[in-house]
Point group: C2
Chain length 230, copies 2
DNA sequence: CCAAAAGTGTTCATCGTACACCCATGT
DNA sequence: ACATGGGTGTACGATGAACACTTTTGG
């Protein structure tokens, strides 16, 4: 038996907003590419793709992100669905935008180069095609809220990380310097970090202690109605 | 010239989560209906509809809400897009959920009855079909955040409203009593209300002063980076 | 011994919260 | 006169922001 006959079907696409954090630099970067097909060939664009019949939209988002970065299982969050009629001059296409955050040295260079993609600092972004610039703007807003509200930052760094490293990430996300005393106090007050006995000695003579995020503890607290807040 | 050939097309739907506030009662209600068609005929469901080729998704959301309530131009906000493969047993359908908030006495009774819809307090909701209960849960969460963050409450009440009325709305949204002194202080401190010389005398002997929301002032402040917070 | 980054405490203003009584008026 | 909801102020603790010096150690 068939339901829902005679309804219009549409093309449904995914656009992926992939932020990368580069520990060395102090800015978030965005992975964008020059389009290889019409319409708008050669213009700067987000990575995208169409949702197939046999995959969920989340799967489609992960698939397109994988095609570009070679990374599996990145943190990806749905941002918003863009469905104005004229948004894509190539046809009537509704697009679900997703964003993610990856370690910038983690991606697969071959994949990226194959697509003609580049990492561009978010303060230096060129105009993007269609409504992609709007998508990015919305993504940055949402990312900042997420970073305050949920410990997404930790998932970006290696399992062991130092507090100055984490602070650098937050400074990149908010594009503003933070007071290290306040940052450290607030962070440790949540009791979600486990101090290790080991030091990181690359970036300073003195060395900074490594910490580990206590995921289990975090989930326990969450269940009790705890609110992460930085 | 045709682009994007040979891609799968999908059915794209809208589901509308319509909250209503009834000044008399102290609870938000949700407008749900018994499905008139298969699959899941007779079960409780949100109002929905398919996105047509020649309308934006926002327009489709407004259209379906209008069909059910007879109201034009209600505040409607996109919530989330649900696209798991098996979410609708009737076929592969991706649905963009929207939510809105209306004055409960404002809707058109004929429209509502024609669809077999009812207002149900959010604490007494039955199981809904498919993933509709999840949609509602998400909508309540987002509505609460919105109400703290943006003055959506005001748009729900008549142009002239009293502070106790507004407080009642917030109590309904958060499902918790608020301290009237603190509520009033914080509210007035923002300087967004204009006190009128007139009193509302229905609900008390003494009467409560009417206020008006200063929309222009609000937009001015917004432009300067003001954050609404209640 | 010096440069460079890590680490550490205190003060102050602000904000959220808890709390109890008087006011105006219709019946 | 009394019941009903409207309106007001204060005190306390928690939180966020500003701010400068000492420590460690590789070179």
């Amino acid at each position: 038996m068939k339901f829902y006959q005679n309804q219009d079907k549409l093309l449904l696409a995914i656009d992926s907003i992939i932020f990368g954090f580069d520990e060395g630099q102090h800015e978030l970067k965005l992975l964008i590419l020059k389009r290889k097909f019409e319409p708008a060939m050669g213009k700067w664009s987000l990575m995208g793709g169409f949702v197939q019949k046999d995959e969920s939209i989340d799967e489609a988002a992960k698939r397109t992100a994988f095609q570009l970065t070679g990374l599996q299982d990145v943190y990806m969050e749905q941002l918003y669905t863009f469905g104005d009629i004229g948004r894509d001059p190539g046809g009537r296409i509704v697009s679900v935008a997703y964003f993610s955050l990856i370690k910038i040295n983690d991606y697969n260079k071959e994949h990226v180069e194959k697509h003609g993609a580049s990492w561009i600092p978010i303060s230096e972004l060129p105009d993007l095609i269609f409504d992609h610039s709007e998508m990015v703007k919305k993504a940055i807003r949402k990312l900042r809220i997420r970073a305050r509200t949920q410990p997404i930052g930790f998932e970006l760094l290696p399992e062991k990380f130092t507090i100055p490293q984490l602070q650098g990430l937050y400074e990149a996300i908010y594009q503003t310097p933070l007071d290290k005393r306040n940052f450290r106090r607030k962070l440790l007050a949540m009791g979600l970090l486990k101090k290790l006995d080991e030091k990181e000695k690359e970036s300073s003579k003195k060395g900074a202690f490594y910490y580990r995020f206590r995921k289990k503890k975090y989930e326990e607290l969450l269940a009790k109605g705890f609110n992460f807040g930085l």
